[in-house]
Amino acid sequence: MSTTLRVNGRAHLLADLDPSTPLLWALRDHLGLVGTKYGCGQGLCGACTVHLGGVPVRSCVLPVGAVGDQAVTTIEGLAAADGRLTPLQKSWCDNDVAQCGYCQAGQLMSATALLARTPRPSDADIDTAMTGNLCRCGTYKRIRLAIHAAAQATTTP
């Protein structure tokens, strides 16, 4: 059966896609959007985090059949069309957060959703929003720093 997925502002018609296929694999293997990462396939590491209607979800355990016509945003859809980075992406670069970088797309998706709801998050807000995103390299201190710095940059007049 065919499925239509709305990803990063574009509609994609996918023929022959089993509705039980996790969204992660539809993105990676059908649409070629490899920025969303496979880490565990069990919703435990957060590397596959995308936004569904603006809400961060684990795409590795979300069947495409459950997506419907909700808008999907992936890491490839964060920056502006002209390539301009969001303040959070810029803060991530400025604070040199990444080590291996494999978890960072998921970290950014969770952090982007956090700042959308809570423009000036406290440490406790960051704990709640980010605890589901594992970083094997241990960049947590910088993740916290980059979120605070981006919040400051966007909310300071």
Partner: protein, 756 residues
């Protein structure tokens, strides 16, 4: 992508120094076909600084391969080659920084390109914290040689002496007296035609004039990472690519007895199902499908029967029981190390004596990017895209598995989603090669599931230490013995696995007058591999915690006892050939620095709070760490502050990368000792994923990690490993100081930390 594939080179290039067996490296200069300049550094695989782990065989002396570390086009485009695999240790940024510094260009002016596996680039590996010590001097000289040539070209053009010219650091040469200025691009073609300067004519910068080294520079891949651009092994997409998964016997060494592929073959998207068998890879059945998910989903439809074999009798509980049996009898002679007379010294009157046993479990690497490799087999040649820490070994393993000559294999280096030593073993490359051979002409990406990754790792060895020590009234450690029960290099050998051995010079050997070290290797069939700071990251826990026990028994301050043990600053040469010299002054220097920065020795902390210290010399780096913790009476642990002091020589290359390695090592070290273990039951790993083999979360990670580098007048060395070994003992010692609970078995979350 190899630069030589893009730009044809005009040959023959000028040869500066002939390749001779005695030379470790030499330079070659080439003109680019369209004008411009290219400077190659031919690096030998041999590595005089190699200490651990053992290097792979030196790169064969083949034909010169133009590895263009520096390329400058007439338009002024400056490209630097990143030769080593990048897996988060930061070399893709830090190594080119060294070239850029001496070339005297602004960082914003250079483009970094990742190299393929290339015999001309020396050992391309992410191993042993060796990238900095092996590249620092050659890369400075390379950059300085290029600058010297460009200056010489300007001098010739303007008819002035080179000494009158300067390079202000923006890829230009300036003649101040006549106010003339030329860009490197304008000079590149002329510079390429010059003879290479004599070594003596190439002047390195005074480090006081460095503009780039020592600064905080962001990773070159950061913009790609934050936008999700393809970088990693799993990001590789070739035209008409298929995806594969392997189902392996859950018991190590098990062999396929029979298989019924029918149901799996009928599963949607499945293209092929076949058993794989080749030298160097485990027995398995491959499923190839149009998508990863389709391949994964067909796994459970396979009907397989395994001959589990001998390893099914191995278990963690069995190894511990065997260790206890070994401790109950006298260790087999000869001792690994014997100084003085331990038995007599230990029995002497007026000593404080301590005996204790320490154990730690097997550990998985748990790279966040599961093992994977993409391979294309076509016309007798193999092309692979591999996130490997050791691409040459990957090529050789694939060659062995396929029976191909290594020259028939091209290896592209992708970014690596976490290495930590796992990807020094290239089983995933050999497997992908074997699968690709069955699907000629079609690129196939082999993807391990998370459970595959956890259950077919090459594990950090478990270990069992039985320690005895004695301290005299003056706080001197006079006697130390360790009967270390560890793992053999297999079942039918007495040889201790190189990944699980103590070293002849192991701490506190050379510092304690009566020192006796024995090793008993257990036969086993568990796959063992290097895990970040091999040996040290495990053994330091037992050694530095036991040292703490001695300090407390003797009522000595743990820092004071350590400094007394290290004694006067001196360089102690190794007993073991090829091992590094141990400088007690550098070790004591970081112990003092960590203590001072932590406020050690100030007002005593209240019950439930405590500080602990530990140190280690590993991978040429000296590190000391202080943990400050709070443990509630209910046993809840909070890590309040971590102070790292490290001496890795006179120059930090990239301060941001260096601090990131330190902070990451602290988190990794906590993760490894607090919550992680792999338990073997029936010859298989029990754990299957992050539910039962967790990683430390952001909420549990310390918010305050301070890193202090002690810049000593020694050659710069690496930081991927030296900071992790003291983390577990410093944490355990802090918990003891806070609660009185002495932790001797890891992971430490099995210890009840409640106190009243």
């Amino acid at each position: 992508m190899n630069l030589s594939e893009i730009d044809p080179i005009t040959f023959p290039p000028v040869v500066a120094e002939p390749a001779s067996p005695g030379r470790r490296s030499f330079l070659k200069l080439a003109a680019l076909a369209g004008g411009g300049f290219a400077l190659a550094l031919y690096m030998r695989g041999a590595d005089a600084l190699a200490a651990e782990p053992p290097p792979s065989p030196a790169a064969a002396d083949g034909d010169f391969s133009p590895s263009l570390f520096i390329r400058i086009t007439p338009a002024g485009v400056i490209t630097l080659l990143a030769s080593n695999p990048e897996g988060g240790q930061g070399v893709k940024t830090s190594l080119p920084m060294i070239i850029a510094e001496e070339l005297d260009v602004a960082w914003e002016q250079v483009t970094i390109v990742q190299a393929d596996l290339d015999a001309g680039l020396g050992r391309q590996a992410a191993a042993g914290s060796r990238a900095t010590p092996t590249h620092y001097d050659p890369f400075r000289r390379l950059g300085a040689t290029a600058r010297t040539l460009l200056v010489a070209a300007a001098a010739a053009r303007w008819g002035v002496r080179a000494a009158e010219l300067t390079t202000p650091g923006d890829a230009t040469v300036v003649h101040a007296a006549s106010a003339r200025r030329a860009t490197y691009g304008e000079l590149a073609t002329a510079a390429a035609a010059l003879p290479l300067p004599d070594k003596d004519a190439v002047k390195l910068k005074n480090p006081a004039d460095f503009r780039l080294l020592g600064r905080r520079i962001g990773g070159v891949d950061n913009p790609a990472l934050v936008t999700g651009s393809p970088l990693f092994g799993l990001d590789v997409r070739r035209p008409a690519q298929l995806f594969a998964t392997l189902v392996r016997c859950p018991v190590f060494g098990g062999v396929l007895k029979s298989s019924d592929p029918k149901a799996a073959l009928a599963s949607p998207g499945v293209v092929a199902v076949f058993p794989v068998k080749a030298p160097g890879i485990v027995s398995a059945v491959a499923i190839v499908a149009r998508t990863t998910w389709q391949a994964f989903r067909a796994r459970e439809l396979l009907v397989l029967e395994w001959d589990e074999g001998r390893v099914a009798g191995d278990s963690s509980a069995g190894f511990l029981a065997a260790a206890e049996r070994a401790w109950a009898s006298a260790p087999a002679a000869p001792a690994l190390r014997e100084d003085g007379d331990f038995a007599t010294a230990f029995a002497a009157p007026d000593l404080m004596r301590v005996e204790a046993r320490y154990t730690y479990p097997f550990l998985s690497h748990a790279n966040l990017e599961p093992q994977n490799c993409t391979a294309l087999f076509e016309n007798g040649r193999l092309e692979v895209w591999a996130p490997t820490q050791e691409p040459k070994r990957g090529r050789d393993d694939a060659a062995k598995a396929l029976g191909l000559p290594p020259e028939a294999i091209t290896v592209h280096l992708t970014r690596i989603g976490g290495g930590f030593g796992r990807r020094l073993t290239n089983d995933f490359v050999a497997e992908a090669a074997v699968v690709a051979r069955e699907m000629p002409g079609v690129p196939v990406q082999l993807v391990w599931t998370r459970a595959d990754d956890m259950q077919h790792d090459w594990y950090r060895p478990a270990g069992y230490h039985s320690l005895r020590g004695a301290v005299d009234a003056a706080g001197r450690v006079v006697a130390w013995s360790d009967h270390f029960v560890t793992f053999a290099a297999g079942y039918d050998t007495d040889r201790v696995s190189g990944l699980a051995s103590l070293r002849v010079d192991e701490f506190p050997g050379r510092l304690v007058p009566h020192c006796l070290i024995h090793q008993t290797p257990l036969p086993h069939g568990i796959p063992l591999g290097p895990w970040r700071a091999p040996r040290a990251s495990a053994q330091c826990f037992a050694q530095q915690c036991f040292l703490d026990e001695l300090a407390h028994a003797a009522k000595r301050d743990p820092v004071e006892l350590r400094l007394a043990l290290l004694g006067e600053p001196r360089a102690i040469p190794p007993a073991e050939k090829g091992a590094p010299t141990f400088d007690t002054g550098r070790m004591a220097g970081v112990v003092r620095l960590a203590a001072e920065k932590s406020g050690w020795g100030g007002a005593p902390l209240p019950r439930g709070r405590g500080r602990g210290i530990a140190f280690q010399f590993s991978h040429l780096g000296y590190a000391a760490i202080v943990f400050e913790v709070t443990v509630t009476p209910a046993g809840e642990l909070t890590i309040d502050r971590v102070i790292v002091a490290a001496d890795v020589g006179r120059q930090i290359v990239n301060l941001s990368g260096a601090e990131n390695q330190s902070e990451g090592s602290v988190v990794d070290g906590i993760s490894s000792c607090l919550v992680q273990r792999i338990t073997i039951v029936g010859g298989r790993a029990e754990q299957t994923g992050f539910a039962d083999m967790p990683l430390l979360r952001l909420t549990a990670a310390p918010r305050r990690i301070e890193t202090h580098f002690l810049l000593s007048d020694n050659p710069p060395t690496g930081l991927g490993e030296p900071i992790i070994p003291p983390v577990p003992p410093a944490l355990a010692n802090a918990i003891f100081a806070a609660t009185g609970h002495r932790i001797r078995d890891l992971p430490l979350n099995q210890t009840d930390l409640r106190w009243s």
